[in-house]
Assembly symmetry: C2
């Protein structure tokens, strides 16, 4: 603690360039209930979002981390808001506005089951019921087009093929400033601790190897 205090004194505001700025970071999966027992979700450890939330906090920003269920502890100094569904996550993000920065790292489920059963569905002798899906709200696009739009809105893309082409298209479709494209076709990337990423913006593409 003494060492950190000295570091902070030596660093001053120069070490905290985001002091006074407010950042929203989404992280982890969303969980979309089918019934009280079953759910749809995405693989996401939450590590990338938590690492970004922690880094923004260290740079001086006030960080609101809107997180689906993960096994991770909230980084020190970061305010975590726990959510389950995409709709919960959007509501928590909107409640955290206004903000200067929004970083949408969460693996939000694109679809949710159409209506949550009140009782557990029974396995019968007949064929399985088809699961009807409805589109979830698009958190990245909603924040990008909000009348309280953060100045910098960053989205993430997890793709298995044509990573950069999809990221470029997503940038235009969502209306955000940057897309960070993770190539999940490489083994061990999903849930792993290191990714190869490409940062796609209106200025072009920048590649980072082994991003956290």
């Amino acid at each position: 603690a003494i060492f950190e205090a000295i570091q902070a004194m030596l660093a001053g505001d120069a070490g905290r360039p985001l002091a006074g700025r407010r950042a929203i970071v989404t992280a982890g999966p969303t969980v979309e209930p089918i019934d009280p027992v079953r759910f749809l979700s995405n693989h996401s450890s939450g590590r990338q979002g938590y690492a970004i939330a922690e880094a923004l906090g260290r740079l001086g920003a006030e960080v609101i981390l809107v997180s689906g269920p993960t096994a991770l502890a909230a980084p020190a100094g970061v305010t975590r808001v726990n959510v389950q569904t995409a709709r919960d996550m959007l509501a928590a993000c909107e409640a955290a506005l206004p903000a200067d920065i929004a970083v949408c790292v969460a693996a939000v489920a694109d679809w949710r089951p159409d209506g949550t059963g009140l009782s557990k569905i029974k396995k019968g002798d007949g064929p399985a019921p088809p699961l009807t899906l409805v589109e979830n709200p698009d958190i990245l696009a909603t924040l990008s087009r909000s009348d309280r739009r953060p100045r910098l809105v960053i989205g993430f893309a997890a793709e298995t093929n044509d990573v950069e082409a999809y990221a470029q298209a997503k940038l235009e479709k969502k209306g955000c400033d940057w897309i960070v494209a993770n190539d999940v076709s490489q083994p061990g990337v999903m849930g792993g601790t290191e990714n190869t990423v490409a940062i796609v913006s209106a200025q072009g593409i920048e590649r980072w190897e082994k991003a956290p």
Copy 2:
């Protein structure tokens, strides 16, 4: 360790009534992939199955714990086999036969998506694709009717209503010896540390309050 060694010496075989017996315990959820990113699953902490595996181990049994993804450490002295899908779980159980006891605690997904996409499905402008489901193998019924059937096969039921009637029907349908019925309609039971259970067998029904 010395204390435990003394305990074990004092207890002798009387404290290890299951010495020489082999038990299979299934625990946790199964995870059924839709594509490389999305999956279907069930809420299950794995705590009940892990507690049972630990207790059987303490009673002297050789325990094979076949577990879906959980945040739990394997109990000491228990052999854990990690699986993802219901089909993996059945294969691991069959590989662990012959056994004297099978305790099927896992929250196995009744259905899985019909065919895993090789690329992540894209969210388009049209309606969401319906998710076609196919029935998963029934691990409890398969073990109960195996030609290498364990002498004691125990199933679990998580129900929201008519708990005991369903448990009685499940007992007959699956061919197991006992059904332990957890009433999940009580708040805080799913993922919680204490359950009210009813043990249903051919001999009738026995209620236990606050089972682990």
